[in-house]
């Protein structure tokens, strides 16, 4: 029978805390780049000009239909040779997850924009607004409110995906866990604690999202996915 002993985990709590911090750092950075890029991709894809719509569609489809780990490997191992730059695991991770989550965010944006009734668009145009004004003043404000739940759910997915950076040796929570497990010879306890840390953070975030979803539904704003 295995005797559980969590003392070695507590003794290394600082290493795990650093890992969690780094996980949040990558998630935050990828969100900061991914959301605006996602909006740009969505607007391009909705454009009537093929020159804009096609490349955006290609980026979205490629990044949605290839495994994130393959993308990460490509950006970490292949890209530096191609463009002669030093690539750190952190930069590779932020680059990969920004573009990857942008592809998913773009579809959320697109769904939200398309869900706004056409009449609104036409009415705003009839009032003399230019298309960018209509988008900024009339369509986007309504679309964004409907997109919030789908959006936050994607952000949670992103946080789960960031565990992949451990494979290219960035010191996120999962990587630190592996280190501590090897150092203390206590993989069962360390990995269990880490699973619980992820669960606590992600579960709390999803509960918040569900609460918000219910409130938005109550205020008569449907959601799009």
């Amino acid at each position: 029978m295995h005797v559980w002993n969590f003392a070695p985990v507590w003794a290394n709590a600082d290493l795990l805390a650093l890992g969690l911090l780094n996980t949040l750092k990558v998630t935050g950075a990828a969100l900061a780049f991914g959301v605006p890029l996602g909006l740009v991709l969505a607007l391009m894809r909705l454009s009537p000009r093929r020159l804009l719509a096609w490349p955006a569609g290609a980026v979205i489809e490629v990044f949605r239909t290839t495994p994130p780990l393959v993308q990460l490997f490509w950006f970490f191992f292949a890209l530096p040779i191609l463009i002669h730059v030093e690539m750190t695991p952190y930069v590779a991770a932020v680059l990969t997850f920004s573009i990857q989550s942008a592809a998913f965010f773009a579809e959320v944006f697109r769904g939200g924009i398309v869900s706004v009734e056409r009449g609104q668009w036409e009415a705003a145009r009839a009032l003399g607004m230019a298309p960018p004004q209509v988008m900024r003043r009339v369509v986007l404000p309504q679309a964004v409110k409907r997109m919030i739940p789908a959006f936050l759910e994607r952000a949670i997915e992103l946080m789960k995906t960031t565990t992949l950076v451990a494979i290219v040796s960035y010191a996120d929570l999962l990587f630190q866990t592996n280190e501590v497990a090897q150092k203390t010879f206590r993989p069962l306890e360390v990995f269990t604690v880490t699973a619980l840390i992820y669960f606590t953070v992600i579960f709390a975030a999803s509960q918040l999202v569900h609460g918000l979803e219910r409130r938005l539904a109550a205020s008569g704003e449907g959601m799009t996915r």
Binding site: V62, P68, F73, A78, I81, L174, T177, F191
Partner: protein, 224 residues
């Protein structure tokens, strides 16, 4: 900046047999996880639908736990942590299959539950009134209709499972990406190798993604 990089796919194409071995590994893991994940997911989904709290509470706990932890953490837990509790070793295939299947079961359980709940209550009641047992009403009346509505969501999950199989390379299971790593380090050509791997995944999944879109559109029209 140096001269432009000269792409050379010959070393990758010379080693197609290595990638083929990986592709078989990827497919094997995919099929195992698809069957176990969707099968167990149905059990858990029905469990969440059950009235008895000793059934739906554990089912809910299972779903919440596996949906709210990263798959990679689950795979590594099964690979490094679980064997300590067991009298035997766990192979990379078993660890990866356990992690991905249980994760997919949790996600598909929610799809099944949503599908079942989307069928009008009156249907089950009518079936009961005709003398069917609850299980018969579920199997003959509710599930066949629900499955149709769930199809796009389930295909999407299947695509996710296919993408997730790459995570098995973290425990050195021989699949496409793992074989790609091997080739890239042997031939020093990560650019061509990882590009080929990405293209292979894209070519496998893109038709599926398009089929899902078409399915969504068709069901959207049929329901309207």
């Amino acid at each position: 900046m140096n001269s432009l990089y000269r792409w050379n796919f010959a070393p990758v194409l010379d080693n197609l047999d290595v990638l083929w071995v990986g592709a078989i590994g990827t497919l094997r893991l995919f099929v195992i996880c698809l069957v176990l994940g969707f099968g167990f997911g149905l059990v858990v989904g029905l469990g969440r639908h059950a009235k008895a709290s000793w059934i739906h509470l554990p089912a809910t706990a299972f779903v919440e736990f596996f949906r709210n932890t990263p798959v990679l953490v689950q795979i590594l837990w099964f690979y490094y942590a679980l064997p300590i509790l067991l009298p035997f070793q766990i192979s990379p295939l078993v660890a990866a299959a356990l992690g991905i299947s249980l994760n997919s079961a949790a996600f598909s359980a929610e799809i099944y539950r949503g599908g079942i709940e989307s069928i009008d209550r009156g249907q089950a009641e009518a079936a009961r009134a005709l003398g069917m047992t609850a299980a018969q009403a579920m199997r003959r009346i509710v599930l066949p209709q629900a499955l149709r509505r769930m199809l796009p969501a389930l295909t999407n999950r299947g695509i996710e499972i296919f993408k997730m199989t790459t995570l098995a390379s973290a425990v050195a299971y021989v699949e496409l990406l793992q074989q790609g790593k091997l080739l890239a380090s042997l031939n020093f050509n990560p650019i061509e190798t990882y590009t080929v791997i990405a293209v292979v995944f894209f070519l496998c999944l893109f038709p599926l993604v398009q089929a899902t879109y078409a399915l969504e559109r068709r069901l959207g029209r049929a329901d309207a």
